[in-house]
């Protein structure tokens, strides 16, 4: 049973590793579908909490996989999920960097760079849509998202952690019905 769970974790995250074009934000929608709907590892509420935790913690947002693995199967689950998500893409990147870095000016390299970028952006938008659907998103949610985006856009030097704390505070104030 436990072994089956570890194998299931690996089988979920390895394909996401190789499809996370544009980074971890691109696979939030997919991970949510697998972890919540398909495998029932976490509830929608827990998934949103884990997303918030993974964004507030240091390091890449893809550490979302680490905490899901940890929730499902403890330390071993965390290690398996982390390796499953980072090793395949890392090996691919290593190989591609080593083999193609001298061909950057070639037409195929440019087409590959420019062609993959819009797919990555589309996936991030899909991630926003599915996260918003999970949350109890009302007008205050849209206000916080918009406010945070405005700060990130126009005050790029503003500390990210500060914006996240601010978002938590505004939501707490809204919940107490000020």
């Amino acid at each position: 049973m436990r072994f089956d769970t570890l194998v299931a974790i690996a089988l979920v995250f390895i394909p996401f590793s190789l499809t996370s074009i544009g980074g971890g934000s691109a696979i939030v929608a997919g991970i949510q579908h697998e972890a919540v709907t398909v495998h029932g590892w976490v509830s929608s509420r827990e998934f949103l909490d884990l997303f918030a935790v993974s964004r507030a913690a240091p390091g890449p947002g893809m550490m979302l996989a680490t905490v899901i693995g940890w929730r499902v199967a403890g330390w071993l689950g965390a290690v398996i999920a982390t390796l499953a998500l980072f090793v395949p893409s890392s090996m691919l990147c290593y190989a591609v960097f080593k083999l193609t870095n001298n061909h950057r000016q070639k037409r195929w390299h440019r087409a590959m760079r420019e062609g993959l970028a819009p797919v990555g952006i589309g996936l991030i938008i899909a991630g926003i849509i599915s996260l918003f659907r999970l949350s109890h998103g009302g007008p205050s949610a849209i206000a916080i998202i918009g406010l945070a985006a405005a700060i990130f856009l126009w005050m790029p030097r503003f500390p990210v952690l500060g914006v996240l704390v601010l978002g938590g505070l505004v939501a707490a104030l809204a919940a107490t019905g000020f």
Binding site: F51, L92, N101, R113, P118, G122, L123, I125, L131, A175
Partner: protein, 186 residues
């Protein structure tokens, strides 16, 4: 700035130095902006990597699957010290966040009785979604230069986000189409 001229004459860094720099950036990088940290560390402070090499490594890192910053430290590690350099960088970079994110999860659980916690967690998630919105705005601006790219963005977002189709088959179909469109444009 003659920064890039200087970097060529410096000896390659020791593996321990690579590991420690990546560890420091990994554990201190609360809430993103990691590319900026890496630029600061590898290019400006240590002068291990010159500006052009950094930019080209970044482009490859963004194009390929995987966390951009993880890919970036792999490229720089490989360039500086080969396979062992890449391994030192990636392990150094991820080991801190691995324990930090689990620790934060435990703090979160310890506070579970606190009535406002779900609201606060939602608020943090919404603010973090603002970060994603900004990435989309920048990406859409770049895509505007070539209208078919905008169509790819919209179709991808619609299929995966609105229709909730599984992500992997959608990417396997749309990515080759998008690359073919860019190929014909070039």
């Amino acid at each position: 700035m003659p920064v890039s001229d200087l970097s060529h004459s410096l000896p390659p860094p020791r593996l321990r130095s690579l590991f420690l720099l990546c560890f420091k950036i990994g554990i201190l990088s609360f809430g993103g902006g990691l590319t900026g940290w890496l630029y600061q560390g590898f290019v400006l402070q240590q002068r291990w990597i010159d500006e052009d090499d950094f930019a080209s490594s970044l482009a490859i890192s963004q194009m390929l699957p995987g966390a951009n910053v993880v890919n970036l430290v792999i490229c720089m590690g490989e360039q500086l010290r080969g396979p062992i350099g890449a391994l030192s960088c990636v392990v150094g970079f991820l080991v801190g966040p691995f324990f930090a994110v689990i620790a934060l999860c435990q703090v979160f659980d310890a506070l579970a009785g606190f009535a406002l916690l779900p609201a606060i967690s939602d608020g943090v998630a919404f603010a973090a979604m603002g970060l994603l919105v900004v990435m989309c705005i920048h990406g859409l601006r770049r895509a505007m230069r070539f209208p078919p790219s905008v169509a790819i963005v919209v179709v991808t977002a619609f299929l995966v986000g609105v229709l909730e189709m599984p992500l992997i088959p959608v990417v396997l179909v749309l990515a080759p189409i998008s690359v073919a469109l860019s190929w014909r444009r070039a």
